[in-house]
């Protein structure tokens, strides 16, 4: 006896689509992880460069001049006394 196989009795062969799906999944994940690692490496390099530049700019910056204490000028001394000094009250000429 010959039984006709109805189309809906057989499972369609869709394995090609399955393979394509998983390959595309792997490709997307691979691209993402590679780009992730590359970005990380670039950032590490940038960090190293910037830290070197920071250290160099600190070394090149001249030290600010030290502030000297401002001394008050001592008044000139003479036999008569200090010039310009206000005479004490009551002090007369000798």
């Amino acid at each position: 006896m010959n039984y006709a196989v109805l189309p809906q009795d057989t499972t369609p062969d869709t394995s090609g689509y399955m393979v394509a799906g998983y390959v595309i999944f792997a490709v997307i994940m691979a691209i993402y992880i590679v780009s992730f690692l590359a970005r990380g490496r670039n950032l590490e390099r940038d960090l190293s460069t910037l830290e070197t530049m920071k250290a160099e700019s600190k070394a090149m910056t001249p030290h600010p001049p030290r502030k000297r204490a401002v001394r008050k000028a001592k008044p000139e001394r003479t036999r008569a006394g200090t010039r310009g000094q206000t005479r004490r009250r009551g002090a007369g000429r000798r």
Partner: protein
């Protein structure tokens, strides 16, 4: 990158291991679906990536709220990390869905509510990165990003519930859809194991990538701060 914590290195290995196991369960262990054939196997990774991506978009919205409340830069870094990983996962979801649709619906794409809202969600977050690039001031950029992710996070539940709110040809896997719909989407035990393990595996993978991305975000912030200091 700065020294990785040992726990993160361990998580990297765990993520790779669970991905391999999930792939084995999906490609080998789970039985072939009688009506759709082998293409049905993409469903395990399709749903797992969709689920984690949508949760990631919502988490980014929460990070945005946290940034606006605290003005702490770490929340901006968390937000970017969540969106970047979710964007990649959701792209995988959309592509796998399209590949599945071709032999089953006889089309690569249709403007079905689920597919349309998914595409809109993906474009919203692609625009997020493009718009951030245009803002130079870090503080303003973070504030803009936070507000944007809070508004964008609304698209995640809309995408998830689209198949329950609107008439759609997209299958309802979890819970019931339209009561008038015919047929079921019941899974054999092998399929259930592959399905739930894939959900678990992609959650682990998401957390691993997320943690790594946060570390990179901190490094980027340090580099930007150094650049600003040297420019002054």
């Amino acid at each position: 990158m700065q020294a990785k914590p040992t726990s993160l290195r361990a998580l990297d290995l765990v993520a790779i291991a669970v991905l391999i196991v999930a792939a084995y369960l999906a490609l080998v262990y789970a039985p072939e679906e009688a009506v759709m054939g082998q293409v049905q196997r993409v469903f395990y990774f399709h749903v797992a990536t969709a689920w984690t991506a949508l949760l990631g978009f919502i988490a980014a919205g929460v990070a945005g709220v946290a940034y606006l409340a605290t003005k702490d830069e770490k929340w901006d870094i968390v937000e970017i990390a969540a969106i970047e990983i979710s964007l990649v996962f959701f792209l995988i979801t959309i592509v796998l869905g399209s590949i599945w649709a071709r032999p089953i619906w006889n089309t690569w794409w249709t403007w079905d509510p689920r597919l349309t809202t998914a595409a809109v969600t993906e474009l919203i977050y692609i625009a997020y990165f493009m718009l951030r690039q245009g803002i130079e001031d870090p503080g303003r950029r973070a504030r803009f990003g936070a507000v944007y992710t809070i508004i964008g996070a609304v698209s995640a539940p809309i995408t998830f519930f689209a198949i329950r709110l609107f008439r759609t040809i997209h299958p309802v896997v979890i819970g019931s859809g339209d009561p008038s719909a015919q047929g079921t989407f019941a899974m054999a035990p092998g399929m259930k194991l592959a399905f739930f393990f894939a959900l678990f595996a992609f959650t682990i993978i998401f957390v691993d990538l997320f943690w790594n991305r946060i570390l990179m975000g901190r490094l980027a912030a340090r580099v930007e701060q150094l650049k600003l200091n040297l420019m002054r």
